[in-house]
């Protein structure tokens, strides 16, 4: 690894002061499971690495009935995967957290790091998009909230400024009779990157679908919502025929490329299959 200096802030203010001084030549380190390989490969060569281990604010994992779920950006995937509040109330998030890397990686890899790395295939993105999460971002002028749907700016790009830090991800409570699911396709079951990942989140009311949210990974430069498919579901009973129709509409939202993981055609096929499966699973979890 190229040599660098390390900063060890003990709170958020200290971290923000360092970012204000040296932000453009610095990298923030949470779990390190993306950053360290990138630094070892020479893809990233920061002069300074700011270790978030001592910043308590980014390690909180809290769930409140009204405010919803707050996941500190540095909370490891493994902690999210095992948290009963996440599993019960926000199951799609737990589904995704359980799929990242191996257990040795999940104990390090952070939710915020997965989002800030901004890979099109990021597993944490689809369930958080489907749950309409917001990114709480701290900077020199205070904190701002950005809907996660506006957080990704391109392949490996986010809207974070060089003097800013993702503090936490806030997910509103989905409400009663809601269910969600995230499924991805990988050639291997573990330690692989999604060829396609799909999250679905539905809320039922009086026998019909009151709200539907569908998000796709690895079929566009950023994780995206499949809004046409969502609109087709809302206000209607979720019959198998309607789910098939939504799966077709989700395929139309996808703009996949062909690469070593799969062809564009195969990815479109996967969007169809996984949208159907996640909607069916979400419906079952909503208690239909």
């Amino acid at each position: 690894m190229r040599r660098f200096e390390v900063a060890l802030p003990e709170d958020l203010d200290e971290c923000l002061r360092f970012l204000a001084d040296r932000g453009p030549e610095s990298k923030l380190l949470a779990g390190g499971t993306d950053l360290l390989p990138q630094m070892k490969n020479g893809v990233t060569t920061p002069k300074h690495v700011i270790d978030l281990t001592g910043v308590a604010r980014v390690h909180l994992l809290e769930s409140e009935a009204k405010a919803g779920l707050r996941i500190g950006s540095a909370v490891p995937a493994r902690q999210v995967e095992l948290d009963a509040r996440v599993r019960n109330g926000y199951a799609a998030i737990a589904d995704a957290a359980a799929l990242i890397g191996s257990v040795q990686v999940r104990n390090l890899a952070s939710v915020g790091g997965n989002l800030c790395n901004a890979a099109p295939s990021a597993d944490m993105a689809p369930p958080l998009l489907a749950l309409e999460a917001q990114a709480a971002i701290a900077g020199p002028k205070g904190e701002r909230r950005v809907p996660l749907s506006d957080f990704f700016a391109g392949v490996r790009k986010t809207v974070l400024g060089p003097d800013e830090l993702l503090v936490e991800i806030v997910t509103p409570p989905p409400g009663p009779r809601s269910g969600g699911s995230y499924i991805r396709h990988t050639p291997r079951r573990e330690l692989d990157i999604a060829v396609v990942g799909v999250a679905s989140q539905v809320t039922l009311s009086n026998g019909v679908c009151a709200k539907a949210r569908i998000a796709l990974a690895a079929v566009a430069p950023t994780p995206i919502r499949a809004t046409a498919a969502e609109a087709a579901l809302e206000g209607k009973a979720l019959t198998p025929e309607l789910i098939d129709r939504a799966a077709e509409l989700a395929v139309q939202s996808a703009r996949p490329i062909s690469d070593q993981r799969g062809s564009a055609d195969f990815r479109r096929h996967l969007v169809r299959v996984l949208t159907r499966r996640t909607l069916t699973a979400a419906l079952a979890r909503a208690g239909a």
Partner: protein, 161 residues
């Protein structure tokens, strides 16, 4: 580049050691502390040969900076036995002749020890998932699974005097 003082608990002992800011935990353990049980296979978190416990949880020590272990407790394979008495997993691995080349074994044992701490009676599938982050290029997985299953049963059985 100013060296940093790293204060941690390593294998149950309070340790203070000077580390470079860019040094990984794995390098600090091996080069500065002489704990050569954890191995560097890939250096990118794919192979699991560097697995150690951080506050009781298995992590890839090649993906951590040494300074990130400050004020925390690290256990390596050297700390798995208890005053010279082998951990039941180590004992089962020896009796079943699990190691072939042996390079992956310290990592596999640390992953398996963490698994048994969480699931004292794991199913075969749980065992396979528990060591999914550990690659064995000799492909000796069958004996590993047998030995881990046996160690779990031995730990669950009432001990005779």
């Amino acid at each position: 580049m100013a060296k940093q003082i790293l204060s941690s608990t390593i294998n149950g002992e309070a340790v203070e050691v000077l580390v470079q800011p860019y040094e990984t935990l794995l390098d600090a353990l091996r080069e500065n502390l002489g704990l050569t049980g954890p191995k560097e296979g890939c250096g990118t978190g794919d192979c699991g040969a560097c697995t150690v416990h951080l506050d009781g949880k298995p992590v890839a020590s090649c993906l951590m900076l040494a300074v990130q272990a400050r004020r925390r407790s690290v256990t390596t394979i050297e700390g798995l036995s208890d005053n010279g008495v082998l951990h039941p997993l180590q004992d089962a691995f020896v009796r079943h002749g699990v190691p072939q080349c042996g390079f992956c074994i310290p990592g596999v044992l640390m992953a398996a020890a963490a698994l048994l701490a969480e699931h004292p009676k794991p199913s075969e599938e749980e065992i396979r998932y528990g060591i999914a982050g550990n690659l064995c290029r000799c492909t000796g997985y069958t004996k590993m699974i047998t030995a881990i299953t046996e160690a779990a049963q031995a730990a669950a059985a009432p001990r005779s005097a």
